[in-house]
């Protein structure tokens, strides 16, 4: 890495005392190698120079914040909300039956020991940064066989001019069912940096739905790392919608560590103005008879930039793997850019793996059909664009939220 580059963003770690070995290691690593730049393969198209140059203080518990309703708020009125404000949360928040909330100090040893257990070697430097600067780990424990009736809403709120490093661990015990919605917001037109690190441990037979809606300020930076570890017969369903932030990035790593697990990763990105929306997904098929499905869709307008890097890694023993990935992007402006790299690495021979990527425009025949029915070209275009993008979230289990997002899409593309 370029040693001449300096990273004012890292000023926050220099004076900091570390309490654990892993923090000291992470700190030393960051001080040695710094943050990624466009010279790093995984960040080639995602220019975060502006972020690296920000010298922001880490938010403290008394930093003021604003909790305003957003366009999506009405989609989650029936959920149980746990606010995660500037990296801090209320340990006594009320939760539905079967779910318990802990942090490091209150969690029983067997849960505490699972912190970091879903992490793989595919960590970005931002994971290290989170290790050093995370203040309070949110541990959500779903007990065995629990069928959680209400959606749990983790409401991330960040204040202006700070950096925040939230850390979440969700442990779904065997045969439990839970739906988690994660949202991120901050004051409009403000500048801040939020770097959430989430781990999902999905035990045998458990079903976890994880929906993430990123609606940060359009001048903020949101770099998230999500690590999922799945055991036998489990299901993990992720829907990631990127709407806000100047640079929004999700690094999702799912490890299918036991047979018959199914992983679904769907996503939607809608960069406009000068936004960059980046998704890096990596599915490790480590054991036989697992399935993974991915569908990512993007519609890019103005000077928006979309980056997609989807890797499927089939390890030697993962025979009978079925992996499928699609990335489709629609360019609505000549100034928009898409960089796509679907990637397969396969070391087992009895597998079915495929990926497809398309970049293009709306189907001319479909446009003609709608216009021949008397619709204006603009209306026809908006209709088709909405239909195109809505497909990525069609299977979202949180139906009310999905409907709200659908409405937003209609509004977004009608202008």
């Amino acid at each position: 890495m370029n040693t001449t580059t300096t990273f004012p963003l890292l000023n926050a770690i220099n004076e900091l005392e570390t309490h654990f070995d892993f923090q000291a290691i992470a700190k030393a690593k960051l001080q040695e190698t710094g943050l990624p730049t466009v010279r790093d393969e995984a960040w080639r198209f995602t220019d975060i120079r502006a972020l690296n140059q920000l010298d922001l203080p880490v938010a403290s518990t008394d930093t003021e914040f604003e909790d305003t309703d957003k366009w999506w708020s009405k989609g989650i009125v029936n959920a149980v909300t746990v606010p995660y404000v500037n990296g801090d949360f209320d340990i006594n928040a009320e939760l539905p039956e079967g779910v318990k909330l802990y942090t490091c100090n209150t969690a029983p040893e067997e849960l505490k020991s699972q912190i970091g257990s879903a992490l793989t070697d595919d960590k970005t430097p931002f994971v290290d940064l989170n290790h050093v600067l995370a203040k309070k780990v949110m541990i959500l424990h779903v007990s065995k066989n629990a069928d959680v009736s209400r959606v749990i809403h983790i409401k991330g709120i960040t204040s202006a001019d700070v950096q925040v490093h939230p850390r979440i661990l969700v442990i779904a015990e065997s045969f439990s069912r839970v739906q988690i919605v994660e949202t991120w917001q901050g004051p409009a037109a403000s500048r801040y940096f939020v770097n959430p690190l989430s781990e999902f441990v999905v035990n045998a037979g458990a079903i976890v739905s994880h929906t993430k809606l990123q609606d940060d300020s359009k001048t903020a930076f949101h770099i998230a790392s999500i690590f999922v570890k799945q055991y036998g017969d489990s299901q993990y369903i992720n829907h990631a919608v990127q709407f806000g932030a100047h640079v929004g990035r999700n690094d999702i790593v799912a490890e299918l560590a036991a047979s018959n697990s199914v992983c679904t990763l769907n996503g939607l990105y809608l960069p406009t103005a000068k936004q960059i929306h980046d998704t890096h997904s990596l599915v490790h098929h480590a054991m036989p008879h697992c399935e993974s499905h991915e569908l990512y869709k993007g519609a890019l307008s103005e000077k928006g930039q979309g980056v997609f890097n989807g890797a499927i890694y089939v390890h030697k023993d993962a025979q009978k793997t079925n992996a499928y990935q699609t990335n489709r992007a629609l360019l609505l402006s000549d100034n928009a850019k898409v960089n796509t790299k679907p990637q397969l690495e396969i070391y087992a021979d009895d597998v079915r793996c495929s990926h497809g990527a398309t970049i293009g425009q709306l189907d001319k025949q479909a446009m003609f059909y709608l216009q021949s029915r008397g619709l204006d070209p603009e209306v026809a275009k908006a209709m088709l664009t909405v239909a195109f993008t809505a497909e990525a979230i069609a299977d979202m289990p949180e139906v009310e939220l999905r409907d709200v997002i659908d409405d937003m899409l209609i509004e977004h593309f009608s202008n």
Binding site: Q343, L344, I346, D349, S354, H355, T358
Partner: protein, 482 residues
């Protein structure tokens, strides 16, 4: 079919020895090992080159010293000691006017390779510029080509006879600063082919070169330049076999193609260099930079390659589609076995309007090999109406090998359509069963399925090459089953 018999077959066929492994004992005029400015001056002097070529070489060498060897490719090999290679080697006898003067041993080598020069003259259609190590020995069909106005000669000859053309086009598609291996080649290239097709000429025959690496411990640094003027057409074939060697040999070639208005260049390669033995020892390191530029409107460049040899293949034949309505094509079969590693693919850069490109890549991995497709499709802002279709299929034979795809797609305008598809699978047991129950033995059945898998690419090859390519695939593949 049982797993055991499958494995036994695999064993049997992966044990197949390299059938083209033989060496010819001829005296070589070889420069001492090592790379410095003196060696480059020596090469340039030896070839009696014009001043500008020496300057080009030295400039490249000075730049090369500032570079680091790239490590991004999915290939692993021990560090190459560039000072432990001899950068110039040529057979002693030179300036031959007729076949009688050619070293009989050399002719024998060609006979073993299946290109008897005597017969070549009679066989209409193919002119051969045979490169034995670093110096072109014999060029045939010169006269006929001359009548058509086509220049087809070795690079050194071209440097003497047509310095103005070399000066005008050398390094224009692959500049000496392009990449580590291209820079190295620019400094030390020894020979290669030069083709110039004048305006409106359709080259009367298919042009072909057989490369052959011979002397132990010498690298081969070929440089090929093909220029097709307006409304011209040329089909160029390149084929390679190499003798069996223990020591790894480095090959860093550069191929540059330029097509002007409505010109078409078809470049076909069959590569069967020594891939190393069953333990992965030895074999050729093949680091090649191939690039074509469609400068003129409606021009076309088509790459077809069948890669079965080399211990390591690092090769991305590319097209820069600058002219409006220009077309780029890439058809590839890459087959790896034992410990071979291939990282190959293409780049299609769409700059002109309504440019089109097609990529068909078929990767077959067997044994303990690794086979990667790495490609780039880019449509710049001005490339309105650009169109790309890519298809990358991989076939896995055995459970020790790997198949990988790394396609990069960058689009910067709204009217471009890019489609990319990739699949990975093994040979279907149903298909094999069907063929076998029709009385076709297992080996032939596999060969048929694999040939079918590669058919789209093999069909693109000129007749002579298609036959050779099928044979090569059969040798490398026969009987293997997943």
């Amino acid at each position: 079919m049982s797993e055991e018999s499958t494995l036994a077959d695999l064993q049997e066929y992966t044990d197949t020895d390299y059938k083209w492994g033989f060496t010819t004992d001829i005296e070589q005029d070889t420069v001492a090992k090592g790379l410095n400015e003196d060696v480059i001056r020596f090469i340039s002097k030896k070839k009696n080159e014009p001043e500008f070529l020496l300057d080009f070489r030295l400039e490249a060498f000075r730049y090369w010293q500032t570079l680091e060897e790239p490590e991004w490719a999915k290939v692993h090999y021990p560090k190459i000691d560039y000072q432990d290679i001899s950068y110039y080697s040529e057979p002693k006898k030179k300036e031959l006017k007729s076949l009688d003067e050619v070293d009989p041993e050399l002719l024998e080598t060609y006979n073993k390779l299946g290109i008897p020069l005597e017969e070549q003259k009679m066989l209409a259609g193919v002119a051969v510029d045979a490169v034995f190590d670093s110096v072109s020995i014999k060029t045939t069909f010169q006269e006929q080509l001359k009548d058509a106005g086509v220049i087809f000669c070795s690079f050194s000859e071209a440097a003497h006879d047509h310095p103005e053309l070399i000066k005008k086009y050398l390094g224009k598609v692959v500049p000496y600063k392009d990449n580590y291996f291209a820079t190295l080649n620019s400094a030390v290239f020894t020979d290669g082919s030069f083709v110039y097709i004048p305006k409106g000429v359709r080259c009367p025959m298919e042009l072909s070169t057989y490369f052959r690496i011979n002397a132990a411990g010498t690298g081969q640094f070929e440089r090929t330049l093909i220029v097709a003027e307006d409304d011209s057409y040329v089909s160029y074939l390149e084929g390679c076999t190499a003798p069996q060697r223990d020591e790894n040999q480095l090959h860093a070639a550069v191929v540059e193609l330029i097509a002007f208005d409505r010109a078409e260049i078809k470049y076909s390669t069959v590569q069967n260099w020594y891939p190393g033995d069953k333990e992965g020892k030895g074999g050729i390191y093949n680091f090649v930079t191939k690039r074509g530029r469609c400068d003129g409107e409606s021009s076309k460049i088509s790459w077809t390659q069948v890669e079965t040899g080399s211990a390591i293949t690092w090769k991305y034949p590319s097209c820069i589609l600058r002219g409006d309505n220009s077309v780029g094509e890439f058809y590839s079969v890459a087959m790896t076995n034992n410990f071979q590693q291939a990282d190959t693919g293409t780049k299609m850069v769409h700059i002109g309007k309504n440019t089109k490109s097609t990529i068909i890549s078929k990767g077959i991995s067997a044994g303990r090999s690794d086979n990667s497709y790495r490609g780039l499709v880019r449509a710049t802002k001005g490339a309105s109406g650009a169109r790309n279709y890519s298809q990358c299929d991989s076939l896995l034979i055995g459970d020790q090998c790997g198949a990988h795809t790394f396609p990069y797609i960058d689009v910067h305008n709204t009217s471009t359509s890019v489609e990319h598809e990739a699949t990975t699978s093994k040979i279907s047991e149903d298909q094999l069963f069907y063929l076998q129950q029709r009385g076709i033995d297992e080996e032939d059945a596999i060969s048929m399925v694999v040939n079918g898998f590669c058919k789209e690419v093999l069909n693109e090859l000129p007749m002579e090459f298609a036959v050779e390519a099928r044979k090569l695939l059969a040798i490398s593949l026969e009987g293997s089953v997943g």
